[in-house]
Amino acid sequence: MILKVNSLTKKYGRFIAANNISFEVEEGQVFGILGPNGSGKTTTLGMILDVTSPDAGSYCWFDTTPGSNQRKHIGSILETPNFYQHLDAESNLKIAALIKDVPYSQIDVVLQRVNLLERKKYAFRTFSLGMKQRLALAAALLGNPKVLVLDEPTNGLDPQGIIEVRELIQSLANEGKTIIIASHLLDEIEKICTNVMVMKQGNVLAAGRVDEILSSQFGIHTSSKGAKDSKLQTNNNMEEIRIEIAADDLYLLELELERLPYVVKVEKRKETLMAILNKNIDNKSINQAMFDRGIVLSHLIKIKKTLEQQFLEITK
């Protein structure tokens, strides 16, 4: 087991930033923590990295009692890239290397990996946000750690930078590294992660394999591994099927759709209608039903829920 977290709780006055957070990360997983800003992701990561003091709960890295030496084998970025403004890239990495007991010879290697080698003599304060973020990744890679903890690693990057960082993370995952990554970007989690934990206002809403969460159109399995609470959590909001539908006469179509028993709601779009159904009816039946009422459909698409929509719904 790489990491086991037991009921970590952090309060700031009456505000509960993280409430009873438990999860487990196994070797080789790419574990995503997904949630909107302010949902407690950074607080949770801060606690497992010993910079935020928890009010309750415990955590355990590598099945041993926590200590500062363990963190030398975990490459971490928390929130923003944190470096000494007056030092150049190389000197900043020297400090990180000294702390991690890693030889200076590795500095060029990690700088090369994030494409900053030619900038190593430039002061940190002259770096663009993207370069700062990449330098933070370079620092995290010092000592070739088994585990990476990355908090919003693509935050503030331009599209090119986002792609580069994602490719880097992907290649690190392919090397077998365990990666814990926090993000408010769903497609980031969808593209990179094997497992995901969804957070909202300090609480864990759902956890499991990314494909499970994706495939569960009608609910979410909680904690697939834990087996403590594997019952199906159903949420009324989740039982919605959306179809995009159009015909020559949208007005008539809307009237007829609303008469169907399984249609909950019809919304007007520009040239189509969006119907929300409470049952998974196949396209053929809908088409037949409309045809029976004398309407020929020009367009009919069932919209599959993306992780994005699920996420928005469960964190609503």
């Binding site: 500062s68 030092l87 400090i95 702390i99």
Partner: protein
């Protein structure tokens, strides 16, 4: 410990501001000695009568300069979020405390050594040769200077940890200092002369006060010394507690 010093050295080495500050401090100390000698000469006082007591007293006014250095150096780490990053990278919070403790000790030693060296230099170049007696007499004032300086730096360090912002820490330091001195002067109670800043101030009193006031009810010198040592321990313990128990965030 060697590792902690190497890490701090890496931070300080390219830090121009730090070297500028320590350089200017030495220059100001030099100026203080120069003015003192010059004044003695033109007033016909033998320069050999210069004393550790007098010089450590006047130099004490420059301690505030070192307080600024400690506050800015420490609050920078908060502003850059590097205390946090150092811990994330694998330092323990305990090590963070000790590395800064070493820096504060180093600065206090630097100040004491500078005083010592300047005293020797000015004694050697002065026309009246300095007797061994004048040199060895009251040399314990050098130790007083060291412990007083370290005490002020320890208070400054604790304030910088709690307040996190440089300018606010400096303002707060000055306000607490003034309040402390005013209370102990206004009440004229012996025990209140042992407040932190008053203790530091009373450890090396003005050897030639223009107005002979305020010194009548002082606690004994040894009690003042114990009190300063007590504050050194107290404020470092508080800093240790703060660093190991509180969240590391800017």
């Amino acid at each position: 410990m060697l590792k902690l010093l190497t890490i701090e050295w890496q931070k300080i080495k390219p830090y121009t501001f730090f070297w500028l500050f320590t350089g200017v401090y030495f220059f100001m100390l030099f100026a203080v000695f120069y003015i003192a000698y010059h004044l003695m000469e033109i007033n016909g006082i033998k320069t050999s009568s210069i004393s550790w007591h007098g010089m450590t007293y006047i130099s004490g006014y420059l301690n505030f300069f070192l307080v600024l250095l400690v506050i800015l150096y420490s609050t920078n780490e908060y502003q850059f979020n590097t205390y946090r990053q150092n811990v994330i990278d694998g330092l323990s919070r305990r090590q963070i405390f000790f590395s800064k403790l070493l820096i504060n000790l180093g600065i206090a030693i630097y100040s004491t050594l500078s005083l010592f060296v300047l005293f020797i230099i000015f004694s050697l170049i002065s026309p009246d040769s300095l007797s061994i007696e004048a040199f060895s007499n009251e040399i314990y004032y050098l130790f007083y200077h060291f412990i007083k300086c370290f005490c002020l730096l320890s208070i400054a360090y604790f304030l910088s940890l709690v307040l996190k912002k440089g300018i606010i820490s400096i303002l707060f330091f000055v306000v607490v200092w003034m309040v402390d001195v005013v209370i102990s002067m206004a009440t004229n109670t012996t025990i209140l002369e042992l407040l932190p800043f008053s203790s530091c101030g009373n450890l090396i009193i003005n050897p030639m006060p223009a107005l002979p006031i305020g010194y009548s009810d002082l606690p004994s010198e040894s009690n003042i010394l114990y009190s300063v040592i007590f504050y050194v321990l107290l404020f470092n313990a508080l800093s240790f507690w703060w660093l190991t128990k509180k969240d590391l965030r800017a």
